[in-house]
Every structure is written in structure tokens, then in C-alpha cells.
């Protein structure tokens, strides 16, 4: 039985290795400067050419806007839970966040379509709002955990010096916890950058041009992969693999960095005790 358990763990690691290897092997040959600096187009024979610059910029803008919405909301929810909520209310809020985290992302997609796309047309902002709903519960949970790690002696010291709760929070507690909040954000944003479903109906009809305006539909890496993988053209397939490689590297580096940093900041906070 014990060897079976070891085998199961090896199988999981092997699948991870296999996925990374096949994406790298197929994506790497298609990586070129053009991929990052050219727009998608068609050559005189009607075959697709060019790069995916617009989608790379689009992914940055869409996840950037989503992060800008989600970080303040997530951190404030955690502050409310840590500072103001009664245990019962804090429990209810946590339950609600977990439920939100469990909502299928495709449902977030059709929700944002109904709320922000009908009557207005597709726009990147609607996609960002969908991603923000993915990010908020993750950030709120990790921030609350870090806030709970901040030693109460620090808090009490500040309040004994006559500082108000809000001042204690802003000048003592949050600065101590900021490392943990940042790592939680990295993990959440890395996850959101790879989400496809919230963008599929909100910002899929994008122009082949670089734009930073979230009121327009913008391209994104996940949608390039999703649509190009169904194209018969070999070039499109290669581009899908290249986009997958870029996206996977970004997401995995974010996930690894977030986890390693989070171990470090936790240790630092605990040392402050």
C-alpha cells in the first residue's frame, strides 16, 4: 500500500512534467521576437501570420484592471473580518467568500455578459470584473491569515501609545503584514491571468491592434490559445502552443514565487513575535 501511495505522488509529478515538457517542446520553436512585437494578420495567400502583441498587452491590461479592483476589496474585507466583525459575522463572511470562490468561472462569464455587455458591446472591463470575482476571495483569505499572524503585542503597544484602531491598522499592522498580502496577491493574480471562461463572452471580439483602453474588447493569451487550438492552420496551432508556453511560464513563475515568498514572510512575521 505504501508503495502505491508513493506511485500516486510520482504519477502526479510525472503528469506535471509531461504537460510542461510538451508545452515547452511545441511552444519553444514558435517563440520569436515577432510573436511579442507583431500583430496578427494574414499574408497575401490568406494564411495567418504575425504575432500576438495585442493579446499580450490585453492580458496585462485585463488582469491589471482586475487586480486594481480586487486588491482593495479583498484587503478591506479581511480588515473588516479581523478588526470589526463579531466572530459570528466573520464566520458568515468567510463562508460567503468560500462560496464565491466555488462559483464556476463560466457562470461568472455569463453573469458579466448579462450585467456589463448586453446593450454596451464587449469590453475588457467586463472581463476584468469577472476576474476580480475570482481574485477577491483568494486575497481576502490570505490577507486574513496574515493579519492573524501579526503579534497582538505590536497592536497593543500601538494602542497603549494612544493610537486609534485605524492608525494602528494603517501604520503598524498592515506594514507588518504587507509581505503576506503581496504574496497572496501574486498567487491570486497568477491564477486569474490564466482564466479563460470569464473572458470568453466579454472580451473575445477584439481588434488586431494594440490598445490599453479597457472600454474596448481586448485580446488575451487564454483566448488566443482557446481559439487558435481549434484552427486547422499549422501556424495558428504553433501560435497556440507559443501562447500556452508564455502563459504557463508567467502563471507557474507567479505561483512558485508567491508560495516561496509567502513562506519567507510568514517566518519573518513569526520572528517579530
Amino acid at each position: 500500500m505504501e508503495s502505491l501511495a508513493t506511485l500516486a505522488a510520482l504519477a502526479a509529478v510525472a503528469v506535471l512534467g509531461m504537460v510542461i515538457y510538451s508545452v515547452a517542446r511545441r511552444g519553444a520553436p514558435a517563440l520569436s521576437l515577432d510573436l511579442f512585437t507583431k500583430l496578427p494578420g494574414v499574408d497575401p495567400f490568406g494564411r495567418p501570420t504575425g504575432g500576438i502583441e495585442n493579446s499580450i498587452v490585453g492580458t496585462v491590461v485585463i488582469t491589471g484592471v482586475a487586480t486594481a479592483i480586487a486588491v482593495p476589496v479583498g484587503v478591506l474585507v479581511a480588515i473588516y473580518n479581523a478588526e470589526f466583525a463579531s466572530p459570528r459575522v466573520a464566520d458568515a463572511v468567510r463562508l460567503l467568500l468560500n462560496l464565491l470562490a466555488g462559483v464556476p468561472t463560466i457562470v461568472l462569464g455569463v453573469f458579466m455578459f448579462g450585467l456589463l455587455v448586453i446593450g454596451r458591446g464587449q469590453n475588457a472591463f467586463a472581463g476584468s470584473c469577472g476576474l476580480a470575482m475570482v481574485i477577491v476571495p483568494v486575497i481576502a483569505r490570505s490577507t486574513e491569515e496574515v493579519l492573524a499572524l501579526v503579534p497582538s503585542s505590536l497592536r497593543e503597544g500601538s494602542m497603549a501609545l494612544g493610537a486609534s484602531r485605524s492608525r494602528t491598522m494603517l501604520t503598524v499592522v498592515l506594514p507588518t503584514a504587507v509581505g503576506g498580502i503581496v504574496t497572496g496577491t501574486i498567487i491570486a493574480v497568477a491564477r486569474a491571468a490564466g482564466e479563460t471562461a470569464p473572458l470568453l463572452f466579454t472580451t473575445a471580439l477584439f481588434a488586431s491592434a494594440v490598445s490599453f483602453d479597457p472600454r474596448q474588447a481586448l485580446g488575451s493569451l487564454p483566448l488566443v490559445i482557446f481559439f487558435d487550438s481549434e484552427q486547422p492552420s499549422q501556424f495558428a496551432q504553433q501560435q497556440a502552443w507559443a501562447a500556452a508556453l508564455v502563459l504557463m511560464v508567467v502563471v507557474l513563475v507567479g505561483a512558485i514565487a508567491g508560495r516561496l515568498l509567502s513562506l519567507r514572510t510568514r517566518r519573518q512575521i513569526e520572528k517579530a513575535r
Binding site: 501511495a5 508513493t6 500516486a8 505522488a9 504519477a11 502526479a12 509529478v13 503528469v15 504537460v19 508545452v23 476589496v73 479583498g74 478591506l76 474585507v77 480588515i79 473588516y80 473580518n81 478588526e83 470589526f84 466583525a85 464566520d91 463572511v93 460567503l96 468560500n98 462560496l99 464565491l100 466555488g102 462559483v103 464556476p104 468561472t105 463560466i106 457562470v107 462569464g109 455569463v110 453573469f111 448579462g114 450585467l115 481576502a140 497593543e156 494602542m159 486609534s164 484602531r165 485605524s166 491598522m169 494603517l170 491564477r191 490564466g194 482564466e195 470568453l200 463572452f201 487564454p222 490559445i225 482557446f226 487550438s229 481549434e230 500556452a244 502563459l247 504557463m248 502563471v251 508560495r259
Partner: protein, 321 residues
């Protein structure tokens, strides 16, 4: 807590009223909570109201009708519900034993130095974007299934209807395996945490009584955490039911009965992903929202159930300590 209450009452006595900054932070952070509550409320309202035309026209019959026809404007979700259940449950059947075994490996068996790196790798499996996993499913996994795995299954297990039929590169089996890859890390990391939460005295007690490591796991560790494992399985199920993108890429998108795992089929979430952009009638779009309502109900109910189980465990642990 009492210290805080005390300092607060001192502050109140001194200033006579709560400080402005405190009030502002309270209002701001309370507002953020209300925003989350409002977003969830709006989500339910928006999805249900868009589904309403279909819900009022088809009613419960939507769940049992097999027709999905935009020309006659008749829609039913039976095959899609069956497809969702077959793929999710089959994925669970593979993923749950694997994931629990991984959890055991990471908490009990692995050399200490390997625990963190292997644990990280299992978690990274969950971090791979579903669209990348789906692409891998189409181009790498699918052909492998069609040329090797499915013929083998057909030869050896073909007497089971699910395992008979013509091999194909896209279909329910691809979807099952891609979903398995997605659920394993979730269930594995929860079960690792659960096994690590089993008190050391209990484990050592069993070992001291002469139990082997496996007997200790089976007789002490697993019974201790069984409720938590059920919750983990429920979360994995919810994840599988809700996955749209990777399933849409590999399942073949056909409104057909899932009679053979080798064939193409459909599942609710993936069906929304592939059909939503090209709806011909408003009733068709509304019916897709109906599917979203079903998904929402399943995911909320499953997550709520899992949370309640976790809560009960927490309380039990709390009273014992």
C-alpha cells in the same frame, strides 16, 4: 480582546466619540463586505432572470428532455447533465484514491526533505491554466487515447458498455482524464493538511501498540479525518462540474447520450462555453443561462455542504482541545 476593549473605552472616554479614522475604516471595510454580498446577490439575480424565459417555458421538463434544437426552439439538458455527471464522477473515481494516497505520501511516508518540493509540484499542477491543459488534452492526450488506451480498454473491459465503442481522439474519456488532473491537486492538498492535523499521540499510540504504519493509517488516521475527506471529495466534485474550458476543448461538444466514454458528448459548463456566442434565438440563450443556474445550484450546494462539514469538524476539535 479585553485589552482592546479597555483601550477603546479609554479612547472613548477621552474623546467622547469614536475617532473619525476608526469610523472611516469601519465604513470602508464594511462597505467592501457589502460589495461582495451585493456582487453575489447580483450574480444570482442576473443569471436567474436571464434564465427565466426558459425556466418558465420548459420547467422541470428541461432536466429530462434530450432535445437541443434551435430551429424548433426546443431545449432540454438531459444529455448534458448526464455528460457532466459521467465525466465528473468518473474523474472522481480515479482522482480520489490517487489524491488521498498523495496526501498520505506527503504527510506520512515521504522523507521530510522531499515533502515541501513534491507538495509544491502537486500544487503547481492545479496552477496550470485550464486552457493550457485543454490544449494538451487535444493534441497530446487525445491521440494517445485513440491509438493505445481506448483499444486496450475495449479489448479488456469492453463488456462494460461505457468502455465499448470506436476509439476517438476527443470525447468523454479525454474530458474525464483532464478533469482528473485538475481535481487531484485540490483533494491531495486538503487531505495532506487533514492527515497532518491528526494528533501525533494518536499515531504514535497506534505504532506503540505494534500497528504497522499502514495499519496506523487505516485504523487511526483515516477514521480521524473521514469527514474532512468527504468534504474534500465534494470540493473536487464541484470543481469538476464547473470546469468549462478544458472540457469544451476535448469533449467534442455533441448533444449525445454518454453511452460510451470513447464517444463525443457534452457537459453543461462546456456546452455554455461552446454555444453561448452563437445563439440563434433568445430562448436558446436563455436555456444556456438555465444551465448556468443548474451549475450555480450544484456548486453552491456542494460547497455549502463541504463548508458545513469542515465547520463541524472545527467545532468538534475545538471542544476536545
Amino acid at each position: 480582546m479585553t485589552v482592546e476593549a479597555h483601550t477603546e473605552s479609554l479612547a472613548l472616554a477621552r474623546r467622547g466619540r469614536p475617532r473619525f479614522g476608526d469610523l472611516a475604516l469601519r465604513v470602508l471595510s464594511g462597505g467592501a463586505v457589502l460589495l461582495v454580498v451585493a456582487a453575489i446577490g447580483l450574480l444570482v439575480e442576473e443569471v436567474v432572470s436571464n434564465a427565466w424565459p426558459s425556466m418558465s417555458k420548459f420547467g422541470p421538463g428541461f432536466l429530462t428532455s434530450t432535445v437541443w434544437n434551435a430551429v424548433t426552439d426546443q431545449f432540454g439538458a438531459r444529455y448534458l447533465i448526464e455528460g457532466t455527471l459521467v465525466t465528473s464522477l468518473f474523474a472522481l473515481a480515479i482522482a480520489v484514491p490517487t489524491a488521498i494516497a498523495i496526501g498520505l505520501f506527503l504527510s506520512e511516508l515521504a522523507p521530510r526533505r522531499l515533502r515541501a518540493p513534491i507538495g509544491l509540484m502537486v500544487e503547481l499542477l492545479a496552477a496550470i491554466p485550464s486552457v493550457v491543459l485543454g490544449l494538451w488534452g487535444i493534441i497530446v492526450l487525445g491521440p494517445l487515447l485513440a491509438t493505445d488506451v481506448e483499444p486496450w480498454l475495449h479489448r479488456n473491459l469492453g463488456f462494460i458498455p461505457l468502455f465499448s465503442g470506436y476509439p476517438s481522439a476527443s470525447g468523454l474519456l479525454s474530458a474525464c482524464l483532464v478533469l482528473t488532473i485538475m481535481i487531484v491537486p485540490i483533494v491531495a492538498s486538503i487531505s495532506r493538511d487533514l492527515f497532518e492535523s491528526v494528533p501525533g499521540e494518536l499515531k504514535q499510540g497506534a505504532l506503540a501498540l505494534g500497528a504497522t504504519r499502514w495499519e496506523m493509517v487505516r485504523g487511526v488516521a483515516i477514521p480521524q479525518v473521514s469527514a474532512g475527506l468527504v468534504a474534500a471529495v465534494m470540493l473536487g466534485f464541484a470543481r469538476a462540474v464547473g470546469e468549462a474550458i478544458a472540457v469544451a476543448q476535448v469533449i467534442g461538444s455533441a448533444n449525445r447520450a454518454p453511452s460510451s466514454l470513447f464517444g463525443q458528448g457534452g457537459a453543461m459548463a462546456a456546452w455554455i462555453a461552446t454555444q453561448f456566442a452563437g445563439t440563434a434565438t433568445s430562448l436558446q440563450r436563455s436555456s444556456l443561462y438555465f444551465l448556468a443556474v443548474i451549475l450555480l445550484v450544484i456548486s453552491l450546494a456542494t460547497n455549502l455542504g463541504a463548508q458545513l462539514i469542515v465547520r463541524r469538524i472545527g467545532r468538534r476539535m475545538g471542544t476536545r482541545a
